[in-house]
Symmetry: C2
Subunit: 445 residues, 2 copies
Amino acid sequence: MASRVAIVGAGPCGLAQMHAFEQARAEGADVPDIVCFEKQSDWGGLWNYTWRTGLDEWGEPVHGSMYRFLWSNGPKECLEFADYAFDEHFGQPIPSFPPREVLYDYITGRAKKSNVREFIEFNTAVRWISYSDETFSVTVENLADRSTRTEEFDYVIVATGHFSVPHMPSYPGFEQFPGRIMHSHDFRDSREFDGKDLLVLGSSYSAEDIALQTRKYGAKSVTISYRTNPMGFPWPDGIDEVPKLSHLDGDVAHFIDGTTRRVDAIVLCTGYQHSLGFVAEDLRLRTNNVLYPDNLYKGVFWLDNPKMIYLGMQDQYYTFTMFDGQAWYARDYILGRVTLPSRDEMAVDIAEWRAKLDACETPIQEIDFQADYIADLCRDVDYPEFDLDLTREHFKTWEHHKEESIIGYRDRSFSSPCTGTVAPAHHTPWWQELDDSMATFLGNK
Amino acid sequence: MASRVAIVGAGPCGLAQMHAFEQARAEGADVPDIVCFEKQSDWGGLWNYTWRTGLDEWGEPVHGSMYRFLWSNGPKECLEFADYAFDEHFGQPIPSFPPREVLYDYITGRAKKSNVREFIEFNTAVRWISYSDETFSVTVENLADRSTRTEEFDYVIVATGHFSVPHMPSYPGFEQFPGRIMHSHDFRDSREFDGKDLLVLGSSYSAEDIALQTRKYGAKSVTISYRTNPMGFPWPDGIDEVPKLSHLDGDVAHFIDGTTRRVDAIVLCTGYQHSLGFVAEDLRLRTNNVLYPDNLYKGVFWLDNPKMIYLGMQDQYYTFTMFDGQAWYARDYILGRVTLPSRDEMAVDIAEWRAKLDACETPIQEIDFQADYIADLCRDVDYPEFDLDLTREHFKTWEHHKEESIIGYRDRSFSSPCTGTVAPAHHTPWWQELDDSMATFLGNK
């Protein structure tokens, strides 16, 4: 009997995994039976925008954390599929920082080409995964008819992502604050804050981007409160950074340096939890958001049972490129093309990577760390060649661009590590561009 | 071995159930072992106010649907515990329409008196309930340490409530609407809408109350869109009702009668789902929000397995009073004090009640229907006597008061069916009273 593989989630990781199998199948490989369970009604994971917040139409937690007017915050050249270049998908060179809809089109474009939709059961939530007698039992609920069933699999690949379940601290005075308090997970449209004084808590990508977005679309002021260190970018007029929030008194925010600000609304950009409560404890990854979670050999294979595979559970500079490397490696393990060393050797390898990570002190070193990890993955598999070293340089250049101009870095152009194509400049500077539609972006409107 | 009872939820229903057992224990009964699993960190269910929306600190769906400045929308005399009168708890007569904090204090006051907190495991979510070999298996997750375990029980009492998981329809244009769209489940503070033009969808209690609340606290206008029939109350200036929403075009709402309104935000008061996905299908109640759900004998015992008990799953005029009647009945069944008839007889009884319900056409008839149901429960158990017929009349009077003045009905006074105490008038008319604190309400401030 053919072996069976369960994939949990049809976002970028799940789609990469199915695509990797289809690529092998097209070359004649004997591919196992694949079932992908997706709780949303369509594919694309986070990139599948929804207006919904909180709970979805089935009463399930909303997966999507993306908002209107979200543009890529890294150069697209650093996430390009080596076997499906941007040039191939769009038939024309496009600028380096596309809006969400454009990247959604690109990701799902490759999935359509490799015809993986047939493997996906939509509106299906995975409730429990356990392992015994050499077999995984996967209990799923069909959200439409509310039926529950358990199926058996030889391998499980968890591709749920980890930017969906908010980490949401409380502060004194939240219970009495007379305005909206939301996590960035529930942020949807900047224009909600037109004319408002906004408080943003956090100092990572969400805080940076939501501060810029809301100001760009009309917020009167944006105060960013950092817990440890400010981001320190050259903020445009109307945005500034202050120390940690101490408490609220009515609508007045008090910070630990004694300063105060009156604010209308609060957005907590305080990160996400790895939430894998549907996995039995002996198989469950528990980690904070780091570049090399513990107990995952090659960043993907669960140390105590490598048939349990996790994709994309790292913190990320690299995204789709890294997911492809992981998906190819997972595929080749399942197909018997690569073998894994002993448990002890795997544990040593994990410890070595984590020691290297501990030595990283700067974003530049972290970029190299993650690029090294991708190189390590790609060495053993047939993922098409691309210029990984060029992307290292791109990321470092991008970091410098951000320090030079936080509102201008998205106007820069990069060259493709796959095709060499140099991206054209966008027709409108990002800070002035209020229309994020694909038609306008591609200049077809 | 003593039999074991699992109670799911420590809100009004779960607390009533534990209290009922303690009342029997105090009189010498041999009471089974009781464990109550509560996913929140404190008791009180919906009445335990939280500023959180969407997902809670553990990444679980937020249970609470209550908002700041929520006042009881029915006379407290119609929900009074017959064995713990308002006079006993507060030591003074109080007005008929208390704010949330006051009712929370009352509910938890009885629970403290009967000392039921020791039975509750907080921060514990029930993941799965199934039945085989005469035993229930209940799988729970400790949200703090994320450990999962399965325990066995002889009886399960589901007391989760059914006003926590929103029913949230979509309309054309929601994806492009440039403001907040939320369900009433996520509504928290009316002052968020100060100076705004608000659209409220719905025609039941939430729509009525949120329209009044937001206008009272400064919304510029509130447009209520009904699906079938308007509520038809004499709305104050600034609130009106329009037909069903057709679609949105930017921030302009179009209704099926061709009229339009520009709006800043939308609150969907579109009701809740009975969401019991943690119960195995052969035990799972599936119902919409009706006064007599199918398959529940006496409104509580699961027809196919009466050791599976559901409290408070009805639509409600009566609340705490009804939960007490149910809890007493469930207790006496478990204690062997009452016996249930054959499955066929129970099915006939359920069908008879549902036929009576089908014949109800007006709220007045529905009030009598639910009062008759409570009378039927109380006939067989030792719940203390109270003047149920008086509460019927109170509810009918209350309906008339609402028709006379939707902003004034909360200023009326009723008499207690337990003590005869006539409620004093509140010191400030509800429409002018902006402070909902217990101290101000009780006049101690």
